[in-house]
């Protein structure tokens, strides 16, 4: 299981990568994709949508189940990964790179500091 050190993590198994300006890139973790199994569908918001921390912003579906995606942070969606439309299996193959889901312009950067570090997140997955 992979937990990149340069990312922050939410309790709902999303990763957050801080990028230039006030933007962050968001996806689901390696642990999450492994738990879900074969991903067959990813539903994302549209560019321009506002998302709020801890509220659902989309869903991922595996063969067996539907799981909501919960926003790790509040802000405005400035980009979505359209590749996931045709290739949802990227989430299984490359959770941290090719399967990024959305880029968000963060409204309150203090929210980033509340997210877990790689060590904390890894610890949490062991407790589950």
């Amino acid at each position: 299981m992979n937990f990149p050190k340069d990312l922050r993590y939410s309790e709902e198994h999303e990763w957050v990568k801080v990028e230039e300006g006030n933007t962050v890139r968001i996806g689901i973790t390696d642990f999450a994709q492994d738990e879900l199994g074969d991903i067959v569908f990813v539903e994302l918001p549209e560019v321009g949508d506002d998302i709020s921390a801890d509220e659902p912003f989309g869903s991922v579906e595996s063969v067996k189940t539907v799981s909501e995606l919960y926003a790790p942070i509040s802000g405005k969606v400035v980009a979505i990964n359209e590749d996931l439309d045709d290739s949802p299996e990227l989430v299984n193959e490359s959770a941290y790179e090719k399967a990024w889901m959305i880029v968000v312009e963060v409204s309150d950067t203090a929210e980033i500091d509340k997210l877990m570090t790689a060590e904390q997140y890894e610890e949490m997955t062991k407790e589950d």
């Binding site: 199994g37 074969d38 067959v40 569908f41 869903s59 579906e61 063969v63 067996k64 539907v66």
Partner: protein, 366 residues
């Protein structure tokens, strides 16, 4: 998962990377590798499933056949010794108690195989209707079952036995078959839409049988498979799952398994009046296939509308691993159930278009 029931194979799952879930009170593997991979193995090569959670009842005695003729919708008198039959047990109102297999082991000796989640309910239902000259015994605990399914199933199983398996036709079985030292009932049946076998043996022997099949199946590409693939395989083949396509509120005619309901058999049977009427006049609802036009995946209990009118609900849905399409089975009011009808599936907050299509979605080339 300490309170969950386990099959004798529980400790073997982890050797193959099995991911265990709570399935109706049983700790069973949902997958070993990936559902899609296991599904594909069964369609093109072979897969091995632990289905020891299924229930087995023995029905014996001079009145056994007459008793089953009254309790079950199919015609038991058509079975020869060595034959298996898919059948249904109904309530008076035609709703379904369970769907099951009947094996005729002797003139006065039958084996019923029922769904794990219904073992207690079925046993009580049968017990409460028991007549003189019939003995009913629940042998679920001592009986284990494996399903070996896929086009390579015969080649693999043949390595373990002298019995010429090519002589065993679909829906027949042989008892006391020696599978390299393990005595088993070998049945040419399954729940995947592929050729294959269901193997019943004593619980003490099943680990040995599993290991032999895994070993002998390796070169044929056999994979251990979990409940996830079992569900997608049976779904594509439109094989009903109790709790979804069949419930106490759904009749077998509505669920499209009227072939297992012989309303013209001489004997009276529970539910006959309603089922006969539905067969003759058409049932109010019909199980159909739907294919999504808009992007989305239909799931159990999602409601289906046409405009403002609620016309039914999805019973099972997923992305078909074989066809890569977003498909569902849906129980719809019959006037909206014709092929080509466009319907709206309410998927969470969205209204998405789908069309009624032919099911089964998958049929093997026999």
């Amino acid at each position: 998962m300490g309170d969950l029931k386990q099959t004798p194979l529980f400790n073997v799952y982890s050797e193959h990377g099995g991911k265990v879930i709570d399935f109706g009170g049983w700790a069973l593997p949902v997958q070993f590798s990936r559902i899609g991979e296991e599904h594909e193995a069964v369609r093109s090569k072979a897969g091995l499933f632990d289905v020891s959670h299924m229930g087995e009842f023995e029905v014996t005695g001079e009145q056994a056949e007459a008793f089953l003729q009254y309790m079950l919708t199919n015609d038991v008198t058509k079975l020869k010794v060595g034959g298996a039959q898919y059948t249904v047990m109904c309530y008076e109102n035609g709703g379904t108690v369970d769907d099951l297999l009947v094996y005729k082991q002797g003139d006065n000796h039958f084996l019923l195989v029922v769904n794990a989640s219904n073992i207690d309910k079925d046993f009580d239902w049968l017990q409460s209707h028991l007549t003189e000259g019939v003995t009913l015994r629940n042998i679920s605990d001592e009986t284990a079952q494996l399903a070996l399914q896929g086009p390579k199933a015969e080649v693999i199983l043949q390595k373990l036995t002298d019995l010429d398996l090519s002589t065993l036709s679909f829906f027949t079985f042989k008892e006391n078959v020696d599978l390299r030292g393990v005595k088993a009932l070998v049945s040419r049946t399954g729940y995947t839409g592929e050729d294959g076998f269901e193997l019943y043996c004593h619980r003490d022997d099943v680990v040995q049988l599993w290991n032999m099949l895994i070993e002998e199946g390796k070169e044929e590409g056999l994979l251990p498979c979990g409940l996830g693939a079992r569900d997608t395989l049976r779904f594509e083949a439109k094989l009903a799952l109790y709790g979804q396509e069949l419930t106490k509120d759904i009749t077998p005619i509505e669920a499209g398994i009227g072939f297992a309901v012989k309303t013209d058999k001489e004997a009276d049977f529970i539910g006959k009046d309603v089922l006969k009427q539905q067969k003759e006049e058409g049932a109010p609802r019909k199980l159909v296939g739907i294919e999504m036009i808009d992007k989305g995946i239909p799931r159990s209990h999602y409601q289906v509308y046409q405009g403002e009118a609620l016309i039914g609900e999805v019973t099972t849905g997923t992305q078909s691993p074989t066809l890569k399409k977003n498909l569902g089975l849906a129980l719809l009011n019959k006037e909206h159930a014709t092929l080509g009808t466009e319907v709206d599936v309410h998927i969470r907050q969205k209204v998405l278009k789908a069309v009624v299509v032919k099911a089964p979605f998958y049929k093997r080339n026999a």
